[in-house]
């Protein structure tokens, strides 16, 4: 497997992770978090872990994000850091 692709995706994963924890709006965090999960899922698919990737796609990028948005809906978007 071309490790270059893998490395690019990994870079994006880390970018999303850092962005998700630094952004000052929780709704943005939610979306970035979804993107992070999706990137992660791509990465795993590249590594041949299709079942894991599938699960992450449905859970991490899907349901978890929805939970996240739901929680933000019931709490607040504001954050200090």
């Amino acid at each position: 497997m071309p490790w270059q692709i893998d490395m690019i995706v990994l870079f994006f994963v880390i970018l999303c992770a850092v962005a998700a924890i630094t952004v000052k709006d929780l709704l943005s965090t939610a979306i970035l978090f979804g993107a992070y999960s999706f990137m992660m899922c791509l990465l795993w698919a590249v590594m041949g872990a299709v079942d894991v990737a599938f699960t992450e796609a449905s859970v991490g990028a899907g349901v978890s994000t929805v939970f996240f948005v739901a929680a933000v809906f019931r709490t607040s978007r504001r954050t200090k850091d």
């Binding site: 497997m1 490790w3 893998d6 490395m7 990994l10 994963v13 880390i14 992770a17 850092v18 998700a20 924890i21 929780l26 965090t29 978090f33 992070y36 999960s37 992660m40 990465l43 795993w44 590594m47 041949g48 872990a49 299709v50 079942d51 894991v52 699960t55 992450e56 859970v59 991490g60 349901v63 978890s64 939970f67 996240f68 739901a70 929680a71 933000v72 019931r74 709490t75 607040s76 954050t79 200090k80 850091d81």
Partner: protein, 134 residues
């Protein structure tokens, strides 16, 4: 060690190093962030990093998905070579780990909502202030 040695080393290990980086990001967020939801995000990053680690263990160059191919109805399938398929065990383990993490995440979110109901904030310093006021 010359340039020529470093590249194979990086190729051989970078995946593991980056998992460490990812894990450090998650752990840092869990410890140092002020907002509870941010901490939860950190927790999730931390957990996915571990999953990444396991999936990396399972990867095998020159092999394909762990689904047996050429399965014909009935009998006489071709002999199966272990080298052709990626190690399936870490995948199984990580399916379980993902489920556990989403379960924890759900409960944590429910708790966050509950905390917000009571204190109207999710910032840790403000929470601490509210508690000491009592």
């Amino acid at each position: 060690m010359g340039m020529t040695d470093i590249i194979p080393l990086i190729v051989a290990k970078y995946n593991y190093w980056l998992f460490v980086v990812l894990m450090m990001i998650g752990l840092y967020a869990m410890i140092a962030k002020n907002n509870l939801i941010k901490k939860l995000v950190g927790m999730n990053i931390f957990q996915t990093a571990i999953i990444l680690f396991y999936v990396s263990i399972g990867y095998k160059s020159g092999a394909t998905l762990p689904i047996i191919q050429n399965v014909h109805e009935g009998h006489g399938h071709a002999a199966i070579h272990a080298a052709d398929y990626i190690n399936p065990l870490p995948h199984v383990l990580m399916l379980t780990a993902i489920v556990v993490s989403v379960a924890t995440f759900g409960v944590a979110m429910a708790l966050a909502v509950k905390i917000y109901q009571r204190y109207h904030t999710l910032e840790e310093d403000e929470l601490r202030m509210r508690l000491s006021e009592k």
